[in-house]
Amino acid sequence: MTDTPIIRIMDLTKAYGSKTAVDHLNLEIRRGEIFGLLGPNGAGKTTTILMLLGLTEPTHGMALIDGHDCTRQSMLVKRITGYMPDNIGFYSDMTGRENLRFMARLNGIPEHEINPLIDGLLEKVGMTHAADQKTETYSKGMRQRLGIADVLIKDPEVIIMDEPTTGLDPEGMREFLSLIKQLSVEDKKTILVSSHQLYQIQQICDRVGIFVDGNLIACGGIDELGSQIETEGHYTLEIETEPCDSRFLGFIEGLKGMTGITKNGNTFVINSSEDLREEITKYLITNEYKLLHLHQKGGDLDEIYRVYFKEAEKEGDDSDGKDGSRKRLFGRRGA
């Protein structure tokens, strides 16, 4: 049963005026897997999720969850799908427990089952101690955990989370991710996580899809995507030196296997078909350069992301806004 797709997205398209937010998306998500939908802000991830829940109508195409049409049978879809939105909101003057109770009533859970159910869920997400505080006093991490309890109230088969890790501290992040993993392993839920934070998602996802400008440009397991890059046989080296002069540039250009170089401030980004680190460091030492930064990019998700973004850029025309958000992504990596 694990291999039958529970979510099927076929040719899904959403256009706002002349801007296409989601462009002919085709995707299948299997029962019981954790799927990461990765992409920069504004790539169309949230729009896709809204269409899956029937909260906005697709311009073209359709999506099915467990065989139910997401647009026409949204009631059936929402009964088996839990959605945890970005920046999840609770009624701030109600306690965590009251918020959950309200959700349970909305879902038509019989009154006598509500209290034991809520107690169990609070225990599960580790929020029993704060259950009777007003949610306005909650920290971001607590809100996210209450959010998971909130989603689990209707015992969904599919859980969709939109940017769930934004704003969590490292410890909160770790706990949160292990909770998600637990839901997948122990409760056999299918989980769709959208995010722009590559590393966190990398740790828990079975498969990821990379989503840029409304297009899914790559989809598969992390290893698959990683090996795809390796077979393309290129290395990328970031190097920052003092001074950063043309003599050094000339040396690099003379190296065997060098395929491209770009200068970015005091940093060279060198693409090559071979590992050049040893030759370059030797040269730097003998010529008394000061080495400030050296980073070889490998087959990690960030690299995957970068490579596929480049491909997307080559293919399509880009607006300035999108470029800006991408640069920020790299900036965070370099820091």
């Binding site: 809204l50 909260l55 009631m75 929402k78 003057d93 009533r105």
Partner: protein, 344 residues
């Protein structure tokens, strides 16, 4: 054959299911809204407002009627109308205190506005609406539940103030209500209820279409001020521009048209519509609300209109107010159903 039977059974079960979803989600939303209102801080503001209004109007009415009686006793020739005294408790003010009727015409809308101005956009901004619409409930349950909860509260408030003023007036003055007076009072309170619900619907309309609660609060207060104060000025200016009445000749030619236009423009305002209907209901001596010619008055006897005739006079007002309320609610309903709700 078997297939169709199974299919029917399924759709019947589905139909039953949908009805129960509608029922329990609406109940849950209604209860939550009610609890929110009653335990919230703004409820205290409304309560203070209403209590102050009730006390002031009872005091004003009792002193007002008292001084009128004293005047009548001092001067036997002065005509004092002693019929429908109980209704006068609501329509009479003191020396500087407005009557219950004029107070509620002014303050009633505020209650509607306070209850409705942030009903949708505040939830949108706090991200709770997002969570609500992803539950297996019909989306219209949300806006219907909100409207029903607020209008229930309004109804309770209007009727309790009306009854409180009646009882307090009865105790202070000893004026006993007749059956007809009670019926007139009841109809008047229903009218008031619809009037305040119109403002609730208006505030909700703004809360659906604006992003911030402050914007919707300010726009609905602006609209209220416009109808309560500026509409009558505007109607006068427009009527005078269309049918000038500056000279005696113009007065003779345009007088009636000017008056009619002025009146009809004013009646576009729910404030005027409500006040006019209220004065007909609570003062049975009002026999007409439009201009009446001398010819029509020839041979007329001074007397009171029976309840049925009073109702006939204000029937269009009732329909108009109801229509305005439904229009405002429908527009916000449709707007809400078509909106795309995403996180902030």
């Amino acid at each position: 054959m078997v297939k169709t039977a199974a299919g029917n059974a399924f759709s019947a079960a589905e139909g039953h299911n949908n009805k129960s979803i509608r029922y329990h989600s609406l109940t849950a939303l209604y209860q939550k809204e009610m609890a929110d209102h009653v335990t919230g801080k703004r409820f205290i503001i409304i309560l203070i407002l209403v209590i102050a209004m009730t006390i002031a109007s009872v005091y004003g009415a009792v002193t007002g009627i008292g001084s009128a009686l004293k005047d009548a006793a001092a001067d036997p020739k002065a005509s004092f109308d002693a019929s429908f005294m109980f209704l006068k408790l609501f329509s009479t003010g003191g020396s500087s205190i407005p009557s219950y009727m004029s107070l509620i015409a002014l303050i009633g809308p505020f209650i509607g506005l306070i209850l409705g101005f942030d009903s949708i956009n505040a939830e949108k901004n706090s991200g709770t609406l997002n969570r609500l619409v992803s539950q297996p409930i019909y989306r219209d349950s949300i806006i219907i539940g909100k409207f029903l909860a607020s209008s229930t509260l309004i109804t309770v408030m209007i009727f309790s103030t009306g009854i409180a003023v009646g009882c307090a007036g009865f105790l202070c003055s000893g004026i006993r209500p007749t059956g007809e007076e009670l019926v007139r009072l009841l109809i008047y309170l229903i009218f008031t209820d619809i009037y305040v619900c119109f403002w609730l619907a208006m505030a909700m309309l703004f809360s659906v279409f604006t992003r911030h609660a402050t914007t919707s609060a300010l726009s609905s207060i602006a609209l209220w001020l416009f109808f309560a104060i500026f509409m009558s000025l505007l109607a006068g200016i427009m009527a005078n521009a269309a049918y000038p009445v500056n000279t005696e000749y113009e007065q003779a030619v345009n007088g009636l048209k000017n008056y009619d236009l002025n009146l009809n423009l004013n009646r576009l305002s729910p404030y005027y519509l409500y006040s006019e209907a209220g004065s007909v209901l609570m003062n049975p001596a009002t026999r007409a609300i439009n201009a009446v010619s001398y010819a029509q008055l020839v041979g007329a006897l001074r007397g009171y209109l029976p309840l049925g005739q009073s109702l006939l006079l204000i029937w269009p007002h009732l329909v108009g107010l109801l229509a305005l309320t439904f229009a405002a609610f429908t527009i916000s309903y449709v707007g809400f159903m078509r909106q795309e709700i995403r996180g902030n």
